[in-house]
Symmetry: C2
Subunit: 472 residues, 2 copies
């Protein structure tokens, strides 16, 4: 673990253990440096992370203090806990933005995909070459759902390593997690049904709900704590909800990861109301801590959880291979896939099975997490440096998104449009919500190396925000 991280985690544990209590003044930067033997930079860094995460407060000319619990566990501010949406209408601008992120001339802060140069291209190419050499015509016919058995077994083994028993028969290979999520939602609902989603949430959920003509209840999620359990229960009690689409780890766009206990509570609550959980867990491998967080799937007592994952964020996006551990819905998912895309390509499935058999995935992941964390911190520092202090940057300890809150009067959609005209994309909050609560938020992709181009883009971003603030 990088050193600043070690330190910040140690301090968190100490705060949790009441070694440092609310209001206590922490050792100054210099004292801490002397105590721990690490560099001043490292300490500064650790304190910055703690401050950003709400554990401590800095008082100018005074020092650092343990923050009140309520600040840390604060409830969502000025936002309704639950919104009845009825049918969802998704803004067409999402499409324009997604297409813009494919343009190499645009600084891809708005992109949803990790920097493609993070893919272990040489190893993947080696696996692809081996498949090209070995593939037989009989294998070409093995392209029907649920997909290649070796690949499903390798995925089942990875679940087993986390202590979760998933037989390969319940796993269906799909064209990335988006196909998994769409098929899962389709399997669990009929047009007109009610589903629960989070607010804000991955725009794919909003699009799927619109496409399938479902009605949605959006539950406000907190950037630190995730979904509001009381609001969830209220929703389940008020409507005949069929399914709940949730991101439990490294939430997009918020960044938060639910505590294990909370995952357990969510599953229990959904099971109590007989509601199917569609768990979007595409960033599960991108944790920065020392232990991989479990999915809510791990806490199911019934078979009504569909756990949707892919290799797109953690290995390579362009292969388009994901899966769903679909429990009792597995056969229904296969049928739906047979009716829509039939399957994913055989050579791609074989290549991933081959790659996983080389045992290099875990060392790749280790390196990837480290790089992503370094880049996220670099991005965060750069943003902290240039953006006005009234802009709040929500740091999270996984993935490659930062969720940024502007002063309320600024429209991030307008900011996004101005930035895009200047060849920088950002993902405005409106993309992730059906209401107007997040119009002054945006999401930044931090997976790219933070160089001159990125720094200049941030300087421009700061200037445009200043301009918009000055105007209002």
């Amino acid at each position: 673990m990088v050193k600043y991280k070690e330190l910040s985690e140690k301090l968190m544990q100490q705060i949790n253990a009441d070694i440092w209590r609310v209001g206590d003044k922490l050792p100054s930067l210099r004292e801490q440096t002397a105590r721990t033997g690490v560099s001043l930079m490292t300490v500064m860094h650790a304190y910055e992370v703690l401050e950003e995460q709400g554990w401590i407060l800095s008082r100018p000319q005074s020092g650092y203090y343990v923050a009140p619990r309520t600040a840390f566990l604060r409830a969502p501010r000025q936002q309704p806990r639950m919104t009845l949406i009825g049918t969802v209408d998704v803004n067409a601008s999402i499409f324009a933005l997604l297409r813009a992120t494919g343009d190499p001339a645009v600084v891809p802060f708005g992109s949803a995909f990790p920097d493609p140069s993070l893919a272990p291209l040489r190893q993947l190419s080696r696996s692809l070459t081996a498949v090209a050499r070995e593939i037989t015509s009989d294998q070409l016919l093995e392209h029907l759902p649920p997909g290649n058995f070796a690949l499903r077994s390798a995925i089942a083994k990875r679940y087993a390593m986390q202590g979760i028993h998933i037989p390969p028969e319940e796993i269906v290979i799909t064209a990335g997690a988006l196909e998994s999520l769409n098929l899962s939602l389709q399997a669990a609902t009929q047009p007109g049904d009610w589903v629960v989603i989070e607010n804000p949430c991955f725009y794919g959920a909003l699009q799927a709900i619109e496409k399938l003509k479902l009605r949605a209840i959006a539950i406000t999620s907190d950037p630190r704590l995730g979904i509001d359990l009381a609001a969830l229960e209220e929703a389940l009690a008020s409507k005949p909800v069929k399914a709940c689409w949730l991101m439990t780890n490294s939430h997009n766009p918020l960044g938060c990861t639910l505590a294990d206990e909370k995952k357990q509570q969510v599953v229990a609550l959904l099971e109590k109301y007989g509601v199917t959980l569609i768990e979007d867990d595409v960033y599960s491998e991108l944790y920065f801590g020392s232990v991989k967080p479990k999915p809510a799937l791990a806490y199911r007592r019934e078979s009504g959880v569909m756990h949707c994952c892919s290799f797109s964020k953690s290995l390579v996006a362009g292969f388009r291979i994901g899966w769903v551990a679909a429990g009792r819905y597995a056969e229904e998912i296969e049928k739906l896939q047979l009716m829509s895309t039939i399957s994913t390509s055989v050579p791609m499935q074989l290549t991933l099975a081959k790659y996983l058999s080389t045992q290099r995935y875990d060392s790749h992941l280790k390196q990837l997490r480290r790089t992503l964390e370094q880049r996220k911190i670099a991005a965060w520092r750069c943003l902290k440096r240039y953006l006005p202090s009234s802009v709040r940057i929500n740091y999270s300890d996984s993935g490659y998104f930062l969720w940024i809150e502007l002063p309320k009067q600024i429209d991030a959609g307008e900011l996004s449009q101005i930035m895009l005209d200047n060849k920088v994309s950002i993902a405005p909050g409106k993309m992730f919500s059906t209401g107007n609560n997040y119009n002054h938020y945006f999401r930044i992709n931090t997976s790219y190396e933070w160089r001159k181009r990125e720094e200049e883009a941030v300087i421009m971003l700061a200037a445009v925000i200043d301009m918009l603030m000055g105007r209002v």
Copy 2:
């Protein structure tokens, strides 16, 4: 062109030119052999084809006579021309059958896919290896709709070779034609809309209609002549139809290819009523004649045709690459794809672009057509030899399906079940229709080499049909 084919086509032209008139006795087999210098087998073969296609009749102990025009151009028998279906409910047995065809222990007469050993595996593997060597991480990000530009350009060039101008911008790469067809139908309709389909038709159309909650009017199509234009116009006049899903070349399951004039008439009729044509043209490359039949797309005067194709039937199924030439719907299709599967895999798109650039596709196709024709004739001869004479085999001059009509009292669904218990699949007519008109039909896949195993399967098929006939 194979010799029997040359002869049968010459005779067809002569009959069309009234050199041989209705009722004329053709030269006997021996006379024809002497005249043309080809072998007796070749002449027998040519006559068999002509008889099967309804051009001539054989009278036992007498010889071959030119058949009356009415027999050849006969109207659909005892079947309503048009059926209002309302919402479609697809039988779940399709799923069971599709899965059974993936079992190597089952003789795959019921399969929808061509024999995978017909794929030019060595060449494809070479292209795949080259892609593995050359692929860059930047390319991995080029996985957004509409898909790889080189591949779309290569497809546009193939249209141009047929005299059809399609800019690459109107082409969207998809996970096989099934995704094209589903996205096209989705782009052109809203739940509750009316669409026109054929009866019988590809079961994928029935499933898509069910999934999208559309209402369908099924127009009876004739095994030789295809869709009934009068019934089509009646349907368009009676309901606010939004789209028409049609197979124009090598119809599945019928086998027929619409005449150019008829394609033109269909397009004109649909344009008159402002109805979008969704043209399923997946077998377009599998013609046995000397000229590739045009798609109806070639006759459009407006941009309301979506032409759906793939490489699955003509090159390789397991790569899962198809496309749609989507006209004015291109952007809508891209949006729908972004919401469902995002795209097909980059390495597969690159591999196909690479393969097409080797210029080997056309020589592969030439060889493939020849093999498919030989196998289809072998299958047809074998079936003619063993099946009771009351079974009618509809031969068609393209593709790899034979559409077979049993005596009306026999249930092909029951036949299918008995055969499947004996490790032989067939595709019963019920799969291709929402009514009961085709319960005594089934479809046979003739793309496999016709060897002992296949002959034995046909002998068993004949025995079971005999049994079912004796019982009723």
